[in-house]
Symmetry: C2
Subunit: 76 residues, 2 copies
Amino acid sequence: MKAIVTVMLKNGVLDPQGEAVKSALGGLGFSGVNSVRQGKVIELDLAEGTDPAQIDEMCNRLLVNAVIESYQLDIA
Amino acid sequence: MKAIVTVMLKNGVLDPQGEAVKSALGGLGFSGVNSVRQGKVIELDLAEGTDPAQIDEMCNRLLVNAVIESYQLDIA
């Protein structure tokens, strides 16, 4: 069973990595880049039948900083 | 126009972050975690009509280290 957790900064939280990527793209001559947001994607290979509630608990206890981040869980 | 670039390490490349997350989950008492892979997701807000080939070039020149990483491009 595979679970994919996509973690992004909440809107309004400063994203220094995104800002750095945006200015670097500009420096390389790419135009038309309005904004860049960078997050992380975590692929979990879990035992079959793992309860989604347990995956949520993994997110809330370790994988996601709920103060500044939000996450999306996709189970494949 | 929004483009989402998901960058993961190629199979076979050691993923120290993934290993760290896996052992931390084990330490917190979560069982059934076979493996963990961690990558990054980059959301690009681009000018309408940006050519996908230009986004590929952004990936190959800056966003992705093609030696050890592969990427997936989704245009919304």
